[in-house]
């Protein structure tokens, strides 16, 4: 466990937003991520774009393409992280081939070392099965970083046991089967998943499909320790990009949405927080 991520979950439900680093440009993306921090992010998941994002829905796929076309690379990602002026701990979400290739013949260790140098605190690697995560887990332990796994509604048995052994920071509870993308409903699968993980000693953050403060509130009320939101935020970036809006305007919208989600999560935990602002 890193101190930053521990603290993020210690005082109540954590709001964990996701954006792809470098989307739609390096400079604009810095402002967007910082606006999430101002909006109340407790942890921020930063996507390091990979050319084959198989765990992502169309919204984030488009963000990945925009970021890659704007020149994002692993080394620029590290520079990006160093340049960010945020309080929330940062988690890198990416695919294993980028981690593996960075180290050439040395496996994941060089990537993890560099990540620790620039201040990242953990990883989410959706295409790395828990069974194969030993080398990455070792490197994370060496440099004091967390390794977060995604638990699907159908994950069970030996794989689930392996994840429990190797997870740290928090566990990403997938609210429903499939890829990322905002949806209206809150699935029954969420409650079942949280119940199955009740004995785990890391916080449970629920993702996939959350887009409003009310969603956030109901997810936390169902027992989640935090919420993870990506597509609803990336949609705001995409709208700003397609409309040619000024960066500051899109950043303001992101900050507002972040605040709505963060407050919703805290209301779900029964905290006495301000009533949501009327639209």
């Amino acid at each position: 466990m890193t101190d930053g991520i521990d603290a993020a979950f210690a005082d109540g439900p954590a709001f964990v937003p996701y954006l792809a680093a470098g989307d739609p440009t390096y400079e604009a993306s810095l402002e967007y991520v910082e606006s999430l921090d101002r909006g109340g992010a407790d942890v921020i998941e930063l996507g390091l774009p990979f050319s084959e994002p198989i765990a992502e829905g169309p919204t984030i796929q488009e963000a990945v393409i925009r970021a890659l076309e704007a020149g994002m690379t692993p080394e620029r990602f590290f520079e990006f992280v160093e340049e960010l002026d945020v309080e929330a701990p940062l988690v890198c979400m990416t695919y294993y081939n980028l981690i593996f290739q960075y180290g050439q013949a040395e496996g994941p260790r060089p990537f993890v070392e560099r990540a620790a140098e620039v201040g990242l605190e953990g990883f989410v690697v959706p295409d790395l099965p828990a069974e194969e995560a030993g080398p990455l887990r070792e490197a994370c332990d060496e440099f004091g970083l967390d390794l977060i796994f995604i638990v699907a509604p159908t994950t069970r048995g030996e794989r689930l046991e392996r994840m429990m052994e190797r997870v740290s920071g928090y566990v990403y509870v997938q609210a429903r089967l499939g890829t990322t993308g905002a949806r209206e409903d809150v699935s029954d699968q969420t409650g079942d998943s949280l119940e199955r993980l009740a004995s785990w000693d890391v916080p449970k953050a629920v993702g996939f499909g959350i887009k409003t403060g009310e969603h956030a509130e109901s997810i936390v009320a169902a027992g989640a320790d935090g919420i993870i939101v990506g597509s609803a935020l990336v949609d705001i970036v995409a709208d700003g990009y397609e409309n040619g809006d000024p960066t500051a305007e899109t950043a303001a919208r992101l900050e507002e949405k972040a605040r709505e989600l963060s407050i919703g999560a805290r209301r779900g935990a029964g905290e006495n927080v301000p009533e949501p602002e009327q639209p």
Partner: protein
């Protein structure tokens, strides 16, 4: 991916242990529906041309015209044994898609196929065949719209629908147990070829040549021969228009993963990939849609690493010349994928140490029929002005 444990269990019980007589039913249907065993045919004119015995393993004579039915039938049948209700698959050239659609129709399962937009456009006859067999075809627009994007999109569907859907993966790629399962279903190719060669010649072949895209035909053609150390195994990849890689554009104008790729992780498998220095996956190219994939099966990559399989490349022009040669000399119009294998046979037979490279008896797998590629061949042949090609001027101002 969550369904892999269930699938691994099913693979162990039904495929490896023949529970409920699964493998018996599979072989029975391969025979009755698939038309197996396929012939191992001596190619008399090619044998004369190259001064050694050339045998053709005629997978083009499997029902559907390609080796793909071997795997598709096995996996759709397995899905039924597992109680699944729906079949999905990716396809490159359409061979796996048509085979899966046929198998699903044969076994009464709803079927949905993901195909890159580029491939939909260049493989129209196969799209028609899939639809006629009752399958839905979903074009995938991401990237260059070829096989790797179709695989990614199918994986996304499967991750949403895994409880009642089986993903029939078309090649020896992806996470375990897919590569092992596809290899085992395709292994019938080399099982038959080995027995047939012994029966017809009294000995094993000196070499086996097969084209390689993702590697299903390759692993099927090689698997049973792997323990036979004196049988050389040549995996022929698409050299495309050049083996050079345009790093900045993220484009490799070939699909020669084994020859030019590096170790990496893609679609749940650790294997050899066409990738840039950061690990981003390259866009691949081949005149042959079925060989146009930026990765390769992990077991094939491993066999190359340990020296048991030799990777070789054939460029677009050599493949087209080989296409015409087999058509005019043996009366077999091969798939362009298959033509790459014959392109290598031609090149290898002309070198000084041909006897050492090929030996006296060569088996070449004809992985599929070429009628699906005719428009591409006519177009590409005309563009190159190939001497070997027949005169197509009858079309000028005529039928088209």
């Amino acid at each position: 991916m969550p369904a892999l444990e269930e699938l691994e269990d099913a693979y162990q019980r039904y495929v490896l242990e023949n529970e409920d007589g699964f493998m018996d039913e599979f072989r029975r249907r391969l025979e009755a529906f698939g038309g197996r065993p396929t012939p191992l045919q001596r190619a008399d004119r090619l044998s004369d041309r190259y001064g050694r015995d050339v045998y053709l393993k005629r997978e083009d004579l499997v029902h559907g015209g390609a080796h793909k039915l071997n795997n598709a039938l096995g996996q759709v049948l397995l899905a039924k044994y597992m109680g699944k209700e729906r079949i999905i698959a990716e396809t490159g050239a359409g061979q796996h898609g048509t085979a899966t659609a046929m198998a699903a129709a044969h076994l009464d399962m709803p079927c949905e196929i993901y195909m890159g937009r580029t491939d939909v456009n260049r493989q129209r006859p196969n799209v028609f065949r899939m639809r006629i067999n009752g399958a839905e075809v979903n074009p995938v627009d991401a990237g260059r719209g070829t096989l790797k994007e179709a695989i990614s999109e199918t994986m996304r569907d499967w991750s949403r629908t895994v409880e009642h859907t089986h993903y029939v993966i078309g090649s020896v790629v992806g996470p375990h147990p897919f590569p092992a399962m596809v290899r085992d279903f395709q292994a019938v190719i080399s099982e038959e070829a080995r027995a047939q060669c012994l029966e017809q010649t009294g000995s094993l072949p000196d070499s086996v040549i097969a084209c390689a895209g993702g590697g299903s035909n390759t692993m099927g053609s090689f698997h049973t021969f792997v323990p036979d150390q004196h049988v050389s195994l040549y995996a022929v990849e698409a050299g495309g228009s050049s083996l050079e890689v345009d790093e900045e554009a993220g484009v490799a104008p070939n699909s020669a993963t084994l020859a030019t790729g590096d170790e990496g992780v893609l679609h749940g498998a650790r294997t050899t990939l066409l990738q840039d220095s950061h690990g981003q996956i390259m866009e691949s190219h081949s005149v042959s849609a079925g060989l146009d994939y930026a990765g390769v099966g992990p077991e094939l990559a491993h066999l190359v690493d340990e020296g048991r399989v030799t990777p070789v490349t054939v460029d677009d022009e050599s493949a087209l010349e080989a296409f015409h040669r087999l058509s005019t000399e043996e009366g077999i119009i091969p798939a362009l994928e298959t033509a790459h294998a014959f392109g290598y046979l031609h090149e290898a037979a002309l070198v000084d140490d041909a006897d050492e490279v090929l030996g006296e008896t060569v088996v070449v797998t004809v992985s599929g029929r070429g009628d699906k590629d005719l428009e591409t061949v006519i177009e590409e042949t005309a563009a190159r002005g190939l001497d070997a090609a027949p005169d197509m001027s009858v079309f000028e101002g005529g039928l088209r």
